[in-house]
């Protein structure tokens, strides 16, 4: 950024605030972000002009860019994720809730384990055609030894029993794990946000009012 000598200190202050906010709103779409920045910039100018306040006061009353951006993103992330099937988005939204409570942390951990399990099964199914001897369900003396891909061919009494049926079964198990995890997280997010709404509206569930009014 180049600084011209005639740039007023207020303009610098406002510019810093807005660029900090812009950086913190980065996960949003460009259109949404610019709309927010335009509105906040208009607020700063109007508030200075109409209330005759210095830029520093107006900016201080807005709160920190960090808090403001967190307030914007909180609503957006959880709302988006409730209808999403993207593991990254779902885990990010859960992580956001996890930072505020124990239940969220447990759900995040379970979600992570669920996705990793699902992905492992899918990878194992895809690897089977290339390393048939080292992939599958391994049994020793009628006891389960291991499931998955081995780094090297296992020692002799251990043998693979699934054969090529391992591919569809492992694919199905993997996809099921991913799907179950996805829907479990979405269910949790939708319950969590309803619970937040309840809290925010003084303990009243609007749904129940709707039903009793209807």
């Amino acid at each position: 950024m180049t600084l011209t000598p005639e740039l007023h200190p207020d303009q610098l202050l406002i510019g810093d605030f807005l660029s900090d906010l812009r950086a913190r709103l980065a996960p949003m779409t460009l259109a949404e972000r610019e709309d927010i920045l335009r509105e906040i910039a208009a607020h700063i100018h109007d508030s200075m002009e109409l209330n005759g306040l210095p830029a520093a006061t107006v900016i201080a009353r807005l709160g920190t860019p960090q808090q403001l951006a967190a307030d914007y993103r909180d609503g957006a992330l959880v709302r988006e994720a409730r209808y999403s099937v993207s593991p990254m988005l779902l885990l990010r939204a859960t992580l956001r809730i996890a930072s505020r409570g124990f239940t969220g942390a447990v759900v995040f951990f379970c979600g992570l384990v669920g996705y990793l399990t699902g992905i492992s099964f899918i990878i194992a199914a895809l690897v089977k055609p290339f390393f048939p001897g080292r992939t599958g369900v391994f049994v020793v003396h009628h006891h389960l030894y291991r499931i998955g891909v081995q780094a090297s061919a296992p020692p002799v009494p251990v043998h693979e029993v699934a054969g090529y049926t391992f591919i569809p079964v492992s694919l199905a198990v993997g996809c099921a794990a991913v799907l179950v995890t996805t829907f479990a997280i979405r269910r949790f997010l939708s319950i969590a946000s309803k619970w937040q709404d309840k809290l925010a509206n003084g303990g009243t569930s609007w749904k129940s009012i709707h039903h009793s009014a209807a």
């Binding site: 709160g63 914007y72 809290l199 509206n201």
Partner: protein, 129 residues
């Protein structure tokens, strides 16, 4: 509901509770400020300051308006103004009006019940001390 006095209460708990309460009420207040027609952000803030003592960091209102808009309770439009820059005006949608009606009814019900419940608490304050 049992109300207990813990030996070492966290100093910030009542403040946090009050902040939550205000924040929750703010959503309804923002909708209510638009009942008579469209306003832009700063007008909503001024209206709330004049009508109620919901004094908050001014920044909290904007994310709430944004969320209410995505929930289709509000619509927004940019309008050119004499100020030299456009302003973003909000107005209630039909769904927003309906929601606000339900909120207002529930709030009245809730607060009159609570007022009754809390009356003896405020009256007997000195006696217990």
């Amino acid at each position: 509901m049992a109300i207990k006095r813990f030996p070492a209460p966290e100093a910030d708990q009542p403040d946090r509770w009050e902040a939550q309460l205000r924040k929750g009420a703010l959503e309804m207040a923002a909708l209510a400020s638009l009942w008579r027609g469209r306003l832009y952000g700063l007008e909503i803030i001024r209206f709330l300051e004049a009508q109620s003592r919901l004094v908050l960091a001014e920044g909290t209102i904007y994310p709430i308006l944004n969320r209410l808009r995505t929930e289709a309770l509000l619509t927004s439009e940019w309008v050119e103004a004499d100020a030299g820059h456009p302003r973003k005006y909000y107005s209630l949608t039909d769904a927003g009006r309906e929601r606000l009606r339900l909120m207002a009814a529930a709030w009245m019900d809730f607060s009159s019940g609570l007022t009754q419940l809390l009356e003896p608490v405020l009256e007997s304050e000195e006696v217990i001390q």
